[in-house]
């Protein structure tokens, strides 16, 4: 028996692999430490803090969607409740001069998220798939609507605010300036990311994947899929609570928007656009979506429409998200056959870009005529000015849109052929694709 296990067990990782693995985390920590020295403006510090919060939130969401296969439309409930409890906790701690410093406060948010996940999770996770998605939506609506009714606790429309600087000082830090908040968020992000990565390596993490892939088989093996889903749900609620707490600390306010459908939708977008198949996917997605939502809103009036269109495009054409797309190329890179595909990419890029430009032109023109018809027709979108009243622009946008679409379809078929030949060449060199 012992012989069998010793042959079946995977080999222990070599020293170089271990070094690489731990080196990665150390490098991440150093990068987080040095980031404010490179980009020291107040705006970029706020952006980094938002990204950190979004990373924790998206990763916690991926425990559900990516690892356990549960699509939730109400994850913001645990985020928001964590935020609200933390605001109240800060107020209580500040008023009673309790010896609890601010860096420990996010834990309160995490525990809040955990307790509500324990409370609501058992009913929610009884079923998976579509039923779970609908139930999560119903529970989210229940909590979000209750928040507007229970005014004493949730503060109605205005929300509840707190002053984070009134707490016990630690090493002379009062957490007033944004730089100190950045370090707080960065530290918690690192801790949470490591914890969530560790969770994926535990037997529970593996069982979650099994429940996602084949719940029936899990039952045969002797596990209860409901319990596994429930546990994953609780962990996910815990980390979402931490993210909500950090957001509340960052803004010093919690309002009903924290719990709302918008927030749940945003985390779903971020996680899915980043890619749910890899651990790093939600991190990429959180960074991408935060930059996008901050950047696009300056460039165009209807940025949310573009946001939705990007999401639909990802669902339709790149179900693996950004990370999935990049990781697809890994075997080709290893086999050295990637150069076979690249020229076809460049060719396909031109009509695709033309199509997108045509779409943007058409959309912005329509927006000019419907949203602000009285304005000057020389409008500016994405930093480029053009005359929305000119028929040339209309003709150009139509030609670019439809012509680009027509040509792009042909070129992408060609990309498909190039991809097939490159991957079969890679297979001949003994690398699985």
């Amino acid at each position: 028996m012992s012989e069998l296990t010793s042959t079946v067990a995977p080999p222990l990782p070599a020293a170089s692999e271990k070094l690489k693995f731990y080196g990665l985390w150390v490098a991440a920590a150093i990068a987080l430490l040095l980031l404010p020295d490179i980009f020291s403006s107040g705006g970029s510090l706020t952006t980094f803090s938002l990204i950190g919060i979004s990373i924790i939130f998206s990763l916690s969401y991926n425990i559900l969607l990516g690892q356990t296969g549960m699509l939730s439309f109400g994850h913001a409930v645990y985020y928001g409740l964590g935020g609200f409890l933390v605001i109240h906790a800060i107020n209580i701690i500040g008023a009673n001069k309790l010896p609890i410093p601010l860096p420990l406060v996010p834990l309160i948010g995490g525990l809040t998220g955990l307790s509500f996940a324990i409370l609501l999770g058992w009913v929610s996770t009884q079923r998976s798939g579509t039923a779970f998605a609908m139930i999560s939506l119903g529970v989210a609506e229940l909590i979000a609507s209750s928040a507007l009714i229970l005014r004493t606790f949730f503060g109605g429309e205005a929300g509840v605010s707190a002053n984070r600087t009134k707490l016990l000082k630690l090493f002379g830090w009062n957490f007033g300036p944004q730089i100190q908040i950045y370090y707080l968020v960065a530290a918690w992000t690192l801790i949470a990311v490591i914890a969530m990565y560790a969770l994926t390596r535990t037997p529970l993490g593996r069982m979650c994947n099994a429940v996602r892939d084949n719940p029936e088989r899990v039952q045969f093996v002797g596990y209860n899929p409901h319990v596994v889903r429930y546990l994953a749900f609780c962990f996910s609620g815990f980390f979402a609570g931490i993210a909500g707490a950090l957001a509340a600390i960052n803004f010093e306010i919690a309002n009903s928007a924290y719990l709302g459908a918008q927030q749940s939708g945003t985390v779903l977008f971020a996680t899915y656009i980043g890619g749910i198949g890899f651990f790093i996917g939600p991190i990429v997605g959180a960074i991408f979506v935060t930059f996008l939502s901050l950047g696009l809103s300056d460039l165009t009036q209807v940025w949310q429409l573009y946001f939705g269109l990007i999401f639909i495009a990802v669902v339709l054409y790149a179900p693996g998200g950004i990370t999935g797309l990049l990781m697809m190329h890994r075997p080709l890179l290893k086999a050295g056959t990637l150069p076979k595909v690249l020229p076809s990419y460049l060719v396909a890029l031109v009509p695709t870009a033309a199509m997108i430009i045509g779409l943007v032109l058409a959309l912005e023109t329509i927006v000019h005529y419907t949203v602000n018809p009285g304005d000057d027709s020389h409008i500016k979108a994405f930093g480029v000015g053009f005359d929305a009243a000119s028929p040339y622009i209309w003709a150009m946008s139509v030609i670019l849109l439809f012509g680009g679409f027509w040509v792009a379809r042909k070129t992408w078929t060609w990309v498909g052929y190039a991809w097939d030949s490159a991957s079969s060449a890679a297979r001949e060199r003994g690398i699985a694709t």
């Binding site: 939506l137 119903g138 529970v139 229970l150 669902v315 179900p319």
Partner: protein
Amino acid sequence: MLELIVISTLNGVLFGMLLFLMASGLTVIFSMLGVLNFAHASFYMLGAFFGFQISRWFGFWPALLIAPLLAGAIGAGVERFGLRRVHKNGHVAELLFTFGLAFVIEEVAQIIWGKSPVDFRIPPLLDFPAFTIFSTNYPAYKMFMLLVSIAIFAGLLVVLKKTRIGLIVQAALTHPHMVGHLGHNVGRIFMLVFGVGTALAAVAGVIAGPALVTQSNMAGLLGPILFVVVVVGGLGSLPGAFVASLLIGLVQTFAVSINGSLSGAFGPLSPDYASTWLADIWGVTVAQIAPIVPYLLLVLILIFRPMGLLGTRDT
């Protein structure tokens, strides 16, 4: 009191029938395609806005016909060029696709018709009180809404039970693969069913538009209630959807009209905690919690009957 009961019952049945107009399409689509169309309420909204726009150009009656056809055509297009593509990536991808679609449709409606309510009027032909009970005028338009939804309900029943297409649809509800094996063009049936389902939602939108508020957030307000209906009724069960629609329609309408609260019922007791940290729960009226009643019902159903009222499938 009697007046309240009669009026609320009428309104509740009306709201329930409207819900069923949408829930029926949603249920049939779910049973056949296996995908819960998250954007279903968006087609209801599209119906209302199309109805508004067309009734401005040509009048209400053409709008009642053209708007659902337009929305149905868009729905069929969504199935043909969108859902069929993501089908190979599984049900989660399909649900996410319709989620993104709902988001985009709301944004587009906001761009075209703005964020504030549009002025969608009741047609003058129906703008009179139908009858008076207990000194309350009941508008004729509401009776018209009720009649339209009952007529469509009856029509749907006849088509499903008496025609060949209905037979295939019914068969596909329980045995979609078998229907495909028997040589029917399942792809076309799916497209047709999706188109008809979204058109039904659009009919609900056109007739509800003038009575309720036509606004770009109407899909977001009604969508979750619609999903509560199909989960409470039992996913994929048409009779269940009917019962749940009426139940939720009635419960919500009655809740709105009841003005009682805990402090009203147990006022004289007035315990200490009632004026401090429990003040919200103590003082809130039933009418105020009416919006969350459907969701409370959902949680109760999930605890005591996770399959839904008449559901059989565990999906």
